[in-house]
Structures are given as C-alpha cells and as structure tokens.
C-alpha cells in the first residue's frame, strides 16, 4: 500500500464522514483527528521520498518529488494546526450564533474536502487533473467563505467564485494548449498531460504554443495566487470567511496555486529558451508587492490588512521564482514555508483577538496585551516575523531574495525595498495599538487554542536560525529542479 493512498484518502473519507456527522459536538474533535491522521500519512510519505527519492504511484498518474513533498507536508501540517485552532474558535462562533449546526456540518466537510483537493493537486502528475483539483478546491473554499451567509460573506464568495472561475478558465485554456503542444510529440494519449513525460521532452515542445500556454496558465493560476491586478477576490474572501478559512487560504491555497505555476514554468523554460516565463513572473510579482504595500495603508479591517500582506508576500515569492537560479529558488521555497507558517499563526491570533473584541475593525481591537497576553504576544511576534525582522525565517528568505535581486535584477530592488518599507510601517503602525492600546474588553468564555500560534512561530523562528540539514538538502533539490 502506497502511503499516498492515505494522504489522499483520509481527508476525502473524512469529508464524507463529516458530511453526515459534522453538526455534532464531537465533529470538531473528529476534524482534528482526521487532520492529524493526514499529517501522519504525509510524514510517512515524506520519509519514504527522503529515503528512496522521487516516486510514482499508480502507474504514472501521481508523482512525488522533493518539490511537492515538502508542500504536502506543509499542507498537512498547517491543515492540522488550523483544525486544532478551529475547534475552540467554532465553539465560540456557535455560542455567538454566527454558526448553526447545519453550517458547521458544511464547514467541517468542506474543510476536509479542501485539504483533500489541495493534496490531490500537489501530488498529481497529470496537469489536467491538477486543474480539476484546483477548481474543486475553489468550489470548496467558495462554500467555506460564504458559510456565515451574511450579505458581506455572500458578496465575497460571489466575487471569489466569478473572478477565480474566470481565472481558472484561462488556466484550462492554457492546459489545452499544453496538451496540443504535447500531442505532437507524445501522441494524443492520456500520457501527454503527465508532467514527467512533458518534462522529458520539454526541449522540443513547440515554442509558439508553449509561450501562449504559459501566458494563459500564468494568468489562470496567478489569479488564484492573488497576483495583482487580479487580486480583488483575496482580501474579501479572507475578511468575510471564518478565520480558520483565512488561515488555510493564505497559508496553503496560494502556495498550491503557485506550485501549479512553478510546474508549468519548468516546462515553459525548457521549451522557450527565453525569459518570457521569468519576465512575466518577475513583472507581476513586483506589481503585486508594490500594489499590496500601498493598499495596506488604507485598511481598517484586521483580516483585510493581513490578506494584503499575503498578496505582498506571494508577489515576493513569485518574483523570487521568476529570477530563478539556485539561490533565488531556495529563498522562494523557504519564503513559501515561513510565510505559510507565520501567516496562519497571525490569523489564529487575529481570530481570537477579533472574537474577544467582537469586531474585525482595527479601531475596535485595543490592548490585547492586557486582555489576553498570549494572544497579544502572538499577534505582535507574528507581525514582527511577517515583517521580516530577524531572527525569524522571513528575514532569512527576504534577505536572500533581496541580495539576489540586487545582484541580478538591480532595477527591481528600489521598488522592493520601498514596498517592504511601506508595508513595514503600515502593519506596524496598526498592530502596535491593537496590542498595547487602552481597552475595556471582556474575557472569552472559552480558552483560546494558542498552541498552534506558538508552534508556527517557533518553527518560523527555527527556520530563521537553523535549517535542518535534510530540509536544506530538500530545498536545494527542489530549487535545482526548478532550474532557472
């Protein structure tokens, strides 16, 4: 039995199980247990790949290599910690009347389905299935975002659906073009969409078709990454959905979409022998960083603030991968990891803070440090970490990206530095009063689950100070795989 079967099967079965039992009180614990089982399976799979190198599963339909296995682990891990966080969070929401039993059932079922589809998208070798899984993940998150059924959440979900639906349709067109290019070399059998097969012949794929295909795939998946100018759905979806959903959207979904782009970039680079893919990624990455940094100033809602911060960081990562080369790719992968960990930690803290304050408006959240020191410190440390202060991991990766940019793309560095500076000032100016300001907020009926916050921040800190050798080797392999 391949461990991949468990990685994919457990969340899907869990989703089915929770579709029937998700409304019961025990479901919150079941959700955690299922996520934990997925994490264990992902760990086994990782150990397997570390020991034996890249493997196929079920013919050649699934493919695990250092690039995706690290994302699988990350997804399973953040999925698990978010489930832990969501347990008390949802209890509070239930008590506040924002959630009802049927909605909770939908939420739990879709949460597991969402994790399942993302793991599917990560591990499949078939670029067509990758698209199907991404679309399925979109559908699941649409339901998650709209779970409160308020006017604002419906609007956010509608925007999300329409914009991402349009975007992902472009990606499908790109996939069709890719298949067309591949069909000439590999025949129009099912094998022509397998990434490994395409990778083997990437040098002889038709450059005209591939250029167009990559452009469409980039627009399509780029919409889901939240790259400007197609980022409008992202802040709404983050702000109006339940906080655990914001955490997994920022922490996981954006990564998976970017992963789709990376796989395609490898093919496009091989076929094109020019810098189209790199140029597109750097251009839109930089645009996102700058756009997001300036939008940060105008935010009043705390979740929107950090949603824009996600756009900024995804832009930075896209830029890094666009530069290519071993160091930039390494930095991009590291940044993906630490951003996922730190951003979800921030959303956990923000979720608790917003529940305490009864509002997501930043003016209404004050003095967390006196109300609940742990949440306050969590938010403060998380913000410092995401802003790239040493010794957190974000500092290490941003430092690497910036130094590479100075060396290779000097024109971009002023923009990057300016944007990072603006973002720093914007976020710090808003988080500081939220944590240290005057307050009169009551205590929460349930103790917050702060273990995930500090576990994530701890990992983020660790990655800043010390990257374990196997992880290092792993990143290096993946970085080499991405080429540049």
């Amino acid at each position: 039995m391949h461990p991949l079967l468990f990685v994919l099967g457990i969340p899907l079965l869990g989703s089915l199980l929770l579709a029937f039992t998700g409304h019961r009180p025990v479901a919150r614990a079941v959700n955690v247990a299922v996520s934990f089982a997925t994490l264990l399976a992902a760990g086994t799979l990782t150990a397997d790949v570390v020991a034996r190198g890249p493997t196929f599963a079920w013919g050649r339909e699934f493919f695990i290599d250092p690039l995706n296995v690290f994302l699988v682990t990350l997804t399973a891990f953040v999925g698990f910690t978010t489930a832990v966080f969501s347990r008390p969070y949802m209890q509070v929401e239930l008590a506040h009347g924002k959630m009802t039993a049927p909605r909770l059932r939908l939420y739990h079922s879709m949460y597991q389905l969402f994790l399942g589809t993302m793991l599917f998208a990560l591990t499949t070798n078939n670029l067509g299935i990758l698209w199907v899984a991404m679309e399925a993940a979109t559908l699941a998150t649409v339901l998650l975002v709209s779970v409160y059924r308020t006017a604002a959440s419906l609007e956010a979900a509608w925007k999300y659906f329409i914009l991402c639906g349009v975007g992902i349709a472009q990606a499908l067109f790109g996939t069709v073009l890719l298949y067309m290019a591949a069909g000439k070399l590999l025949g129009s059998s099912g094998g022509a969409l397998l990434w490994t097969n395409l990778e083997a012949v990437k040098g002889s794929l038709d450059p005209d078709i591939m250029a167009l295909a990559f452009a469409f795939l980039f627009i399509g998946y780029g919409t889901k990454v939240g790259l400007a100018p197609l980022h409008n759905w992202l802040p709404d979806a983050h702000a109006e959905g339940p906080t655990p959903v914001s955490a997994v959207l920022s922490g996981l979904l954006l990564n998976v979409a970017l992963y789709g782009i990376l796989r395609c970039k490898v093919l496009a680079d091989g076929a094109l022998h020019n810098h189209l893919a790199s140029g597109l990624m750097m251009g839109f990455g930089l645009l996102s960083v700058v756009t997001a940094a300036f939008f940060l100033w105008r935010q009043k809602d705390v979740k929107r603030l950090f949603a824009y911060s996600s756009i900024e960081h995804m832009g930075l990562i896209t830029f890094a991968f666009g530069m290519g080369g071993p160091i930039a790719n390494f930095a991009g992968l590291l940044h993906m990891t630490v951003h996922s960990l730190v951003k979800s930690a921030i959303f956990f803290a923000v979720g608790h803070a917003a529940q305490k304050a009864g509002t997501q408006a930043m003016d209404g959240i004050r003095g967390l440090i006196t109300v609940s020191p742990t949440v306050g410190w969590g938010l403060m440390l998380g913000s410092l970490a995401i802003l790239g202060l040493p010794p957190f991991g974000v500092f290490a990766s941003e430092f690497l990206i910036l130094t590479t940019a100075m060396r290779e793309q000097a024109w971009a560095t002023p923009f990057l530095l300016l944007a990072l500076g603006v973002a720093f000032a914007a976020i710090f100016a808003r988080v500081q009063p939220m944590v240290f300001g005057e307050t009169s907020v009551r205590r929460l009926p349930h103790p917050p689950a702060l273990l995930p916050v500090f576990a994530h921040l701890g990992l983020g800190l660790m990655l800043g100070l010390y990257i374990p050798p196997y992880l290092n080797a792993w990143y290096a392999q993946a970085a080499r795989l991405l080429g540049g």
Binding site: N126, G165, L212
Partner: protein
C-alpha cells in the same frame, strides 16, 4: 479525413463564435438561455463530428455528456431558477451594447492575432478553430464583465466553459477522458453552487443586481 468534414467543423466553430457574439449583444435573459442552449447543441454536434472525423470513440461519449449537461440539464436548471426568482425582464448592461460590441470585435482580433502563429503550424483538423475558441472565451468573459445581473454572469461563465471545451475538442481531439470527466463534474457542481447562491443573494439583497455586491471596497 475529408476536407468536407474539416470545413464542417470550421462552420460549427463559426456558429459558436456567432452565438457568443449574439449573447454579448442580447438584452433579454430568456433569449440568453436559448442562445446558450443552442451553443451547447453546436458544441455537442461538433464534438461528435470531430469524434467521427478522427475515429476517436471517446469523443462520442463526451458529445453525449455535453448534450445531457449543456443542452438539457443546465438550461433546465436555468429556466427553473429564473422562474423561481422571477427574473425574466430585460436587463440593463453596465456598458451600452454598441460599445460592448466594438470592444468585442477588438477582442476577436486580439484572439485571432494570438492564435495566428498556432494556426499556421497546427496539424490538427481544423486549424483556425483554436483562434475561434479563444475568441468565444474572451467574448463570454467580456459578457460577464459588462452585465450587472447575477444570472447573465452565470450564463457568461458557462458560455466561457463552452468555448474552452470546444478548444479542447477541436484543437486536441479532446482531453484525456479522466480530465474531461473531472471538468464536467466541476462545472456541474459549480453551477449548482451558483444556483444556490442566487437564492441566497436574492434573500439577502432582495435583488439579483450585482451592483448591490459592491460594499466590500477599499476606502
């Protein structure tokens, strides 16, 4: 593979584009649904013809799937939705129709320009179909942008999917079966979710005007 069949596929492609253009300039919701149904039927026929021309039996299967899904099931659902929501009226557009049409022409040119190099090197039956498919996708996209009501947006979304599906059949003789099934499933689930959404939106806003959905803005 006779020249006649490839010409016939070209003709169906042209009809598809024609319908996409008609949808762009159509004001009435009911006519939109009819046009969408016609487009689905054209798509089913073209899929079957491509299947026949290239002797690929799995395309017959997807033709039947298209027929069931896009000619029967989805239009039926749409009809029920507009009946239940009582939204048969003429609809206003955000940008007036002649402007939309002019922009549509520009989009068609753009799509053809993009597809031109591919049409020249392509070896598949109908060389120009990719450009036409791309043009229909972009026109449907345009329709989604310019409509202020929710139902036409949904129809635009579906029409866009039609264009994509046509690209897949005409340019590559259909995606692998498993992918095609996955896409069909996604579309079906998507339309069901959108349908449910329409009711929620109606409940929340007492209207299906998308302009109510503009509260979440940067300020």
């Amino acid at each position: 593979m006779s020249a006649f069949l490839s010409q016939f596929i070209n003709l169906l492609a042209a009809i598809l584009l024609l319908l996409a253009f008609a949808m762009l300039s159509q004001r009435r919701i009911l006519s939109l649904i009819h046009l969408f149904t016609l487009q689905g039927a054209t798509l089913a026929v073209s899929t079957a013809v491509v299947g026949y021309a290239t002797a690929q039996p799995h395309l017959y299967f997807s033709a039947v799937l298209t027929l069931l899904l896009k000619v029967i099931l989805i239009p039926l659902l749409l009809h029920r939705v507009i009946d239940r929501l009582n939204v048969r009226w003429d609809l206003e557009t955000l940008i007036n129709i002649p402007t939309t049409q002019l922009a549509g022409i520009v989009l068609v040119m753009f799509a053809f320009y993009l597809a031109q190099p591919i049409a020249q090197i392509s070896a598949t039956i109908a060389r120009g179909t990719l450009g036409i498919a791309l043009a229909s996708v972009l026109l449907s996209f345009m329709m989604m942008i310019t409509r202020s009501k929710a139902v036409p947006q949904v129809i635009g979304f579906l029409a866009m999917e039609n264009g994509l599906f046509f690209a897949a059949t005409a340019a590559t003789y259909g995606m692998p079966m498993v992918v095609e099934l996955g896409i069909a499933l996604d579309v079906l689930v998507g339309i069901l979710i959108l349908g449910v959404f329409l009711f929620h939106i109606r409940e929340q806003f007492d209207s299906l005007d998308i302009r109510h959905l503009e509260k979440l803005k940067e300020d």
